[in-house]
């Protein structure tokens, strides 16, 4: 059996006791990357060969030598009897939207392709301090703008390990794929509208968007500053809990990192769900999207397999002692995507004005006469179409003459979305639920190129995840089975502010109760075809 079959929790325990060395774990991870990942994403890419189309392409930058030094250091500490952290020797990948000192930190964009970060992001620092071994930086949608990872300037873009003709989701697609393909045990992602939970669902793994402010954003290249949340991506709930426990907490470098005590998420995992009230809402069992031809809003039922998986998850939790509360009205969640089209674009436009070819990053090689021409040529060459689209929209809806109509209205509707959650969680209210259960996504992983370019359809892929970002509350996606095409289905649990503990407990209870289900034995396509079957 491959070492990588073990969970991060188990590997760290074995490294800490000397049963396994960090170096042998790392070398196994590097061999896995060599077997399944294929050529890394780069700006200079050509046509894809048949072999390319069968690989994952999660990584942009592999820092194997640096990782070997880290692993050796951990092993020496263990031999010397020194204390090593709770993630000792665990290989991790980092979404390339985080600064890691001395490494290219590209945001998946040509405009930052040559940027070497002069400092390390707080969540990465905390992972390293806990003994994690950073194996490299993984691909993403450019500046995180997308739900398929296809918009990265670094091609080939990541493919889904369960079916490499399909997207891994996004924007943390490289993170989710690297974990699902067993290249690393954990990955650090970010979630602004669903960018951890949606790829986790598409890749059959666990992804948690923490409460806004639970994890520091210092060193994260910003997209939507009121929405961005760094969070864990893992193969199981315990590993996600362990990862969050080392990253969470206040940070003097980020004034939005909340000063709220961090519980021991791992210690309380097996509390179970007895007595827990878990809510279902009919408003999350449908998809509402604009008709591409008329622009009118169309309401459709969710695909039957996804709805069935969600209701079955509710049944499993009920058998474990949870009380299921049905028919919770959440009428404002339907506005999540239109509100997101406004707020996230305004914040993106504001954040992206700093990239101009003057201080760092790409600068045009064309001739220029003045500073305005540097800006125009650099930004035109450096940004892909998706960042440009967001900048233009953000500028339009926040312009003085339109702000009240668009931006201010969106901020007020955001309050209504939050109030839907507050009413369902209110301990004195009609529903008093501890968590809400929904599907994570309205579909399973779609084919590469099927949706890319249609910014409306792509955004509506996030309609079940984006409300938690507006409300600031935590949400977790956990695997809940497969559809008829063998693609993973994820279900989502959401809880009140800073109640990640509840999500881990419910997720763990579901995982334990379905441990022996047939679908748990399935393996991603890339592991079957690479001989890495476990």
């Amino acid at each position: 059996m491959s070492i990588l079959k073990h969970s991060a929790f188990e590997i760290a325990q074995k490294v800490r006791t000397g049963e396994l060395s960090a170096v042998e774990v790392l070398e196994e991870a590097i061999r896995r990357v060599e077997a399944v990942d294929g050529q890394p994403g780069s700006l200079a890419h050509g046509d894809l060969s048949e072999e390319d189309q069968s690989k994952v392409h999660a990584f942009i930058t592999l820092t194997a030598e640096q990782a070997r030094q880290q692993a050796l250091c951990i092993d020496e500490q263990v031999k010397a009897g020194e204390e090593v952290g709770p993630l000792a020797g665990v290989p991790v990948s980092i979404k390339d939207i985080f600064c890691v000192k001395g490494t290219p930190s590209t945001a998946g964009s040509r405009i930052l392709a040559n940027f070497i970060a002069p400092y390390t992001a707080t969540p990465v620092n905390r992972l390293e301090e806990a003994g994690a071994i950073v194996l490299g930086k993984v691909n993403l949608d450019e500046f995180t703008y997308g739900s398929s990872t296809e918009s990265s300037a670094f091609q080939p873009s990541t493919r889904n390990p369960w079916d490499t003709s399909r997207v891994p989701g996004g924007s943390s697609g490289g993170s989710a794929a690297s974990v699902a393909a067993g290249e690393v045990l954990l990955s650090l992602g970010t979630d602004t509208g669903g960018s951890i939970r949606q790829p986790a669902a598409f890749c059959g793994i666990v992804g948690l968007k923490p409460t806004y402010g639970r994890v520091s954003r210092y060193g994260l290249i910003a997209f939507g500053s009121s929405l961005d949340c760094p969070g864990p991506i893992a193969r199981n709930v315990r590993d996600a809990a362990l990862m969050l426990s080392v990253m969470a907490g206040a940070d003097p470098h980020d004034s939005t990192a909340a000063r709220v005590p961090v519980p021991d998420y791992v210690a309380s995992l097996d509390k179970g769900v007895k007595g827990m009230r878990i809510g279902l809402s009919p408003d999350t069992m449908q998809i509402v999207f604009p008709d591409p031809k008329t622009g009118d809003m169309v309401k459709e039922a969710l695909p039957a397999e996804i709805k069935k998986a969600t209701l079955q998850a509710a049944e499993v939790l009920a058998k474990q002692g949870a009380e299921i509360v049905e028919d919770i009205p959440m009428p404002n969640l339907v506005y999540g995507i239109p509100v997101y089209f406004v707020i996230s674009r305004v914040e993106a436009a504001s954040n992206l004005h700093r990239f101009d070819g003057v201080k760092y990053g790409h600068r045009t090689q064309s001739s220029f006469r003045n500073r305005h021409e540097i800006y125009r040529q650099t930004r035109s060459e450096g940004f892909g179409l998706q960042p440009k689209l967001r900048i233009l929209m953000g500028m339009y809806v926040s312009a003085a003459q339109y702000s009240e109509q668009y931006y201010q209205r969106a901020l007020r509707v955001r309050s209504l979305i939050r109030s839907d959650f507050e009413k369902s969680f209110d301990l004195q209210g009609d529903y008093r639920v501890d968590a809400l259960l929904t599907p994570t996504t309205p579909t399973t992983a779609f084919k590469m190129a099927d949706v890319y370019g249609d910014s409306i359809l792509m955004q509506y892929a996030d309609q079940l995840t984006v409300p938690a970002n507006h409300a600031g509350i935590p949400g977790i996606s956990i695997p809940a089975g497969f559809d008829g095409e063998g693609l993973p289905i994820g279900v989502q649990l959401m809880a009140p502010d800073f109640k990640e503990e509840t999500l881990f407990q419910a997720g763990y209870a579901f995982e334990q109760a379905t441990e022996h289900a047939d679908w748990r034995d399935r393996q991603p396509q890339v592991l079957r075809s690479s001989g890495g079957r476990e």
């Binding site: 940027f115 002069p118 806004y212 402010g213 009121s226 940070d251 003097p252 980020d254 004034s255 939005t256 990192a257 909340a258 000063r259 604009p290 008329t294 622009g295 809003m297 506005y335 239109p338 509100v339 089209f341 406004v342 436009a349 070819g357 003057v358 201080k359 760092y360 990053g361 600068r363 003045n370 500073r371 305005h372 540097i374 125009r376 040529q377 930004r379 035109s380 179409l385 440009k388 689209l389 900048i391 233009l392 929209m393 500028m395 339009y396 809806v397 209205r409 969106a410 901020l411 007020r412 955001r414 309050s415 209504l416 939050r418 370019g453 910014s455 970002n469 507006h470 600031g472 509350i473």
Partner: protein, 106 residues
């Protein structure tokens, strides 16, 4: 369906954002902007009570949960050379940029 972002308005936005597009890119971007605005107009159907507050963040920050502000003091940067090395053009510890052209005010 009429387009809210007309070609003229689009050109104005492009100029403000310091971009330049070929016609194919411009057509794609203007179409997507207009499609997104149609989705955004769904918000106009909501009857908003004037008391509904603007939410700049989802979660409320209280004095207990907000970190104290850092002391307002100068801290030496420990790697200025590393940071300046990222700039395309530097001299004597400064980032060099070409002149800004004069702008005529209306």
């Amino acid at each position: 369906m009429t387009d809210e972002i007309t070609p003229e308005l689009f050109e104005h936005l492009v100029d403000l954002a310091a971009f330049a597009f070929d016609p194919k890119e411009a057509e794609y971007l203007r179409r997507e902007l207009n499609n997104q605005l149609r989705a955004i107009h769904q918000l106009e159907s909501i009857s908003l009570d004037p008391d509904v507050p603007l939410a700049s963040h989802g979660i409320p920050y209280t004095p207990q949960s907000s970190p104290p502000l850092r002391e307002d003091k100068w801290v030496e940067c420990d790697n200025p050379e590393e940071i300046l090395a990222q700039a395309p053009q530097v001299g004597d510890g400064y980032i060099i940029v070409p002149d800004t052209p004069p702008t005529k005010l209306d």
